[in-house]
Amino acid sequence: MTVRGYPHGMVLNPLSQQQIEQIHESTLEVLRKTGVLFEHEEALRILGEAGCEVDFDTRVAKFPAGLVEGCLRSAPSSFTLRAIEREYDLHLGGTRVAFSSGTAVDVLDTLSGERRPATLKDAVDVIRILDKLDQIHHIFVPFGILSDKPKEVAFEWQTALTFRHAKKSVGHGVAFPGCAKWQIEMADVVGAQLIAGAGAVPPLSYSHSMADAIIQFSRKKHCVSVSQAIACGATGPVTLAGTLIQGNAEILAGITLSQVVSPGNPNMYCSYTAPLDMRSGGMAVGSVESAILGAAVGQLARYYRIPSRTLFPQVNAMVPDQQSGIERAIQLVMTVLGGISIICFAGQLDDEKTMCYEQILIDDELCRMVARILEGIGFTPEAMAVDLIHEVGPLPGNFLIKRHTRDHWKKEHMLPTLFNRSPFEQWRMEGSKDIVTMAREKVRAMLEEPVPECRLPKEMNQEITRILEAVEREKGVID
């Protein structure tokens, strides 16, 4: 068995076919005339050998259209990501949508309500909560930094923790130089395939560590998710159309590098784009523009037949309040309907700076709701129910006593597991709890369960421990 996410019954196309072609042609022009900077000697050499016009002084590679289009064709339109436990292999692409978790630096402590830096224990707790939720198909490493570990080894540690504590497939950021090789080594030990997130640094540039990650993960046949992270109006055009074109150029450059290194390797087309907030100079990640861009990115990825991913929904909200709910719900609906293959967002607040346990549970419910939207309206004769309408007729006709109701309601209607639908008096008698309070009670119950033992066999786990020690020695954080 494979985890397959949800099928699209409804799809949103914010761009016309002509607009898509304009974006594509303009993108090829940007790649050919202006090119993309790679702070990575080997990447430039590889691209030069593949046919790019490379200037080793400016470190810019200019891409011929034929090379880019050939690489778009060689990237698979769908693939199955290998998990440690094979029944949790994740099918990505085609007409499926899967849900995953977000990432952060701090946590909103569920006991004190205080925001504080994340610890190793938080990482374990977040991973084990995510592993239990039925709407979460994949787990992304929860934190960029762990306050009780040196920052240089935060990703390697969390790679180890996800392997040790999660049965679901996992994805990993590669923000720190030099972590790719260790993550790959650990993945080899456990036999899992990673989604490695590697992003362009806008405008039109790749840092050494990102270019290095694309090359290393591609060589080892891990999925490389290439992202653009434009701040519209600062690191890219302020206009959405211009953002799509520049972002497309950045993504296609990264995918081209990945495909040249390893033709046929799984890639993902990934977006992380938001306007610059013109009051604060920060990213307006909770914006509705991000929602529109999310849907458009989904449509572009479908045009290229490459599985897609977003690090949205994102919110500017600090706590799981109405702002958080509205920002994430609008973005989730739009990106899902745009046809994004995997949506990495659960739990994150404040521009992916804070992880919130209660929000994770609320997001699980949100995914359940959106998955129902995706299914759309079934239109079989049974669903049209014309015979039944005749049969029941006017009052005192009652559809509740009909078998048709019993046979179809579960498929037609989503039943919330968290949201309240009790009548007022009952709600009041049960303590007048809002959604965050209800989520908190569930979270606390989940966290009270004992931390599961490491899932890995003893020898594998020892090997992971050995790798972690080697990482820490190499990075000079232990003697």
């Binding site: 006593i401 078998r403 109701t405 309601w409 009952q426």
Partner: protein, 228 residues
């Protein structure tokens, strides 16, 4: 009880759980042909199945459509068994037991009350279900009209529970209190509250309500025998 009898009761119970109306009615006819007491077939067969469904509903293992169809299955089989009651001339000629039941004014909660009504019906009561949002006069008039021996009052809301007390004092004012027993139930009340407002019994859930109602009837019947 013979093995056959046990197995027919078990099959009746199962037919309600699986919501198989045809099978439930077929088994009801078999039970009649075998000379079963229809009340035993209902109580230990069909009603046992419905009680199980009620418990499963409370646990959220099954949902409203399942419970309603199970009740419909039981109703259909009950009407088969009822026809058997008529063919038994000795049965229940003297015990016309009628219950008037409803949800009190300003409260439109129906499901629990209807389940009690259904189960009372299945336990042999003549049930007059007034529905929801029933006024004090509505209850009292119905008790008079139907010569009811039992009045069932339901309230889910703490704000509407005092309506129950109003109905009981209206019965007293009209000199009916000694003739009719009152049972209360629903989310807003408990045993203490029932005693405080002068009700005769409190039904904690549908099957408890049926047990209490039958006990009240026996008590009343005993009283009548002594009177005569």
């Amino acid at each position: 009880m013979t093995l056959d009898e046990n197995s027919i009761l078990e099959s009746l119970r199962q037919s309600v759980i699986s919501c198989d109306e045809d099978e439930a009615c077929r088994l009801a006819r078999v039970a009649l042909n075998m000379g079963f007491d229809p009340l035993v077939a209902i109580e230990r067969g069909l009603a046992a199945g419905l009680r199980e469904m009620g418990a499963a509903f409370d646990r959220h293992d099954i949902f409203l459509p399942d419970l309603v169809i199970a009740a419909e299955t039981m109703k259909a089989a009950c009407s088969v068994l009822e026809s058997g009651l008529k063919e038994l001339p000795s049965h229940r000629t003297s015990d016309i037991r009628t219950v008037v039941i409803g949800t009190v004014q300003n409260d439109i909660h129906d499901i629990g009350k209807s389940l009690v009504a259904l189960m009372l019906f299945c336990a042999g009561w003549n049930v007059v279900d007034l529905g929801t949002d029933v006024s004090t006069d509505g209850f009292v008039d119905a008790v008079v009209e139907n010569e009811a021996t039992l009045l069932g009052l339901s309230s889910l809301l703490t704000t509407t529970a005092p309506e129950m007390a109003k109905v009981i004092s209206a019965l007293e004012k009209r000199g009916l209190r000694s003739k009719v027993r009152v049972i209360v139930g629903g989310g807003a009340v408990d045993e203490v509250y029932a005693k405080r407002i002068g009700a005769d019994a409190y039904g904690a859930n549908a099957s408890d309500a049926v047990r209490q109602s039958n006990a009240l009837f026996k008590e009343l019947e005993g009283g009548r025998l002594r009177d005569s």
